[in-house]
């Protein structure tokens, strides 16, 4: 039986980890290599990096950071942000990432998922989906460009298409829950988990260890991701694992 995975996420800008926006605006939160080593030792099951650099220079720096971080990790490593082409994927995977995460580029050109999956295998291709509840339709809508642009796509339809096209995993972020620290969007997570045959990573809303238990037990997530509560040591990966284990969740 597979364990449920706990995944810390680092937002990296121009080679440095930055704070989440609910805190002081983009203040430096540390060296990604040091943080990666810290989470690896704490028992994180995987690490996700999101490159939020705006400039070309920042993106070039990112490749160097990916290399340095990969050298430190004995756990799987996913990199996302600004990956638009097969060449971008190659560059990031060659730098030492195990998986790439596609978001806006996949919505704009879904063939990119197929191309990546055919070339590197489905296990390399994570499709990240930013979802927001739409009360008029009673379902969730896909947003792109870091949540700035609303599309007409229904989340459930999109994740099914992404998997058919070769996505090996879905990184599902609830825009409604993100930064609220009131828990993952359990209904959304469950709806997506039940709709697809690949692992689903719940993201957005983690505020305490109990929220992880909810995402796994009620949300049927395979993995859960969080950033700020780990960065600011409000809790630790080890603490979360110990807590959810008590609740009957199978962890490493």
């Amino acid at each position: 039986m597979l364990t449920k995975r706990i995944i810390p996420c680092l937002d990296v800008k121009d080679g440095r980890v930055v704070k989440g926006i609910q805190f002081v605006q983009l203040r430096d939160a540390g060296d990604p290599v040091e943080l990666a080593r810290f989470y690896d030792q704490q028992g994180a099951d995987e690490l996700v990096f999101l490159d939020i650099s705006a400039s070309h220079e920042g993106r070039k720096t990112m490749v160097e950071v990916v290399k340095a971080v990969a050298s430190e990790l004995a756990i799987p490593f996913t990199v996302g942000g600004g990956i638009n082409t097969l060449e971008d994927m190659k560059r990031i995977l060659r730098a030492g990432a195990d998986k790439v995460s596609l978001n806006t580029a996949a919505v704009n050109r879904p063939e990119l998922i197929t191309e990546g999956s055919n070339f590197f295998g489905a296990q390399c291709i994570v499709v990240a989906v930013d979802a927001k509840f739409d009360s008029s339709s009673g379902s969730w809508v896909v947003f792109t460009h870091g949540g700035r642009i609303r599309t007409e796509r229904d989340v459930i339809d999109w994740v099914k298409e992404a998997v058919e096209r070769g996505a090996g995993e879905i990184l599902l972020t609830s825009m409604d829950s993100d930064g609220e620290k009131k828990g993952f969007d359990v209904a959304l997570t469950r709806a997506v988990s039940e709709a697809v045959s690949v692992p689903v990573i719940a993201s957005g809303g983690a505020g305490n260890a109990d929220h992880f238990a909810e995402a796994f037990i009620e949300g049927k997530a395979d993995a859960a991701l969080a950033a700020s509560i780990f960065h600011y040591k409000e809790t630790s990966v080890a603490e979360v694992k110990a807590f959810i284990k008590e609740k009957g969740v199978y962890v490493r």
Binding site: L2, T3, A70, S71, A74, I75, A122, Q123, V198
Partner: protein
């Protein structure tokens, strides 16, 4: 010196970085002559077995691997690299493997005996369960290791399976016969247990150098 076989499939970077962490000297090569000189060989691999076997045949590396196995020096296949060690795979409409280990490679049924659908690929951390004593498992604990695969090995030769994991079916996780070893999981991504197994492999290679 450990040789990592570069045949165009697989993440050579993470395997080589893991060896660096263990402070083990290595080289990456596709040159048969150079690879034959290695004290131990690692065959990594991700992707489709048909493509991998075609590449190994086209480059002549499949012959090199068989010759290498005959020398008695240790060989380690990782993930797809392990599946390549068996006789055949049903992936891609049927593909012959290197035939260094008895058995074949099959796709996970994806449905339990009770008719319930489960997720394939088998992707994530699963627990290693030991089946027999093995030099490659020395001082390693029955810990969790990281798998990513849709196909698994099936063998009647029970002695070949050193450790397994359960994913509805019994999944051979560490296999071996004489000097030929394989891990279905990625030791380079499997934290302490994985690093322990890689270290044991390099130790087997080094000890053999001492003997000859």
């Amino acid at each position: 010196m450990i040789g990592i076989i570069d045949y165009g499939m697989g993440n050579l970077f993470s395997v080589s970085k893991a060896l660096e962490r263990l402070e083990v000297a290595y080289f990456i090569s596709d040159d048969p002559e150079q690879l034959m000189k290695a004290d131990g060989l690692i065959l990594p691999g991700v992707g489709a077995i048909k493509d991998a076997m075609e590449l190994l045949d086209r480059t002549g590396l499949s012959t090199t691997l068989k010759k290498y196995a005959d020398t008695g020096k240790p060989l380690l296949g990782i993930c797809l690299g392990m599946q390549l060690l068996f006789e055949e795979s049903e992936e891609g409409g049927g593909t012959n493997g290197l035939g260094l280990l008895p058995g074949c490679v099959k796709r996970f049924p994806g449905v339990t005996k009770e008719g319930e659908i489960y997720k394939v690929p088998h992707m994530g951390w699963n627990k290693l369960l030991f089946k027999k004593e093995s030099a490659i498992l020395e001082e390693v604990e029955e810990d969790f290791v990281y798998f990513v695969h849709s196909y698994y090995a099936v063998t009647n030769a029970e002695e070949v399976v050193h450790a397994y994991s359960r994913y509805e079916v019994e999944v051979p996780a560490v296999v071996g016969h004489n000097n030929v070893y394989g891990t279905q999981f990625h030791p380079e991504k499997s934290s302490n247990a994985g690093m322990g197994i890689l270290q044991n492999f390099t130790k087997i290679a080094a000890e053999r150098v001492g003997v000859s």
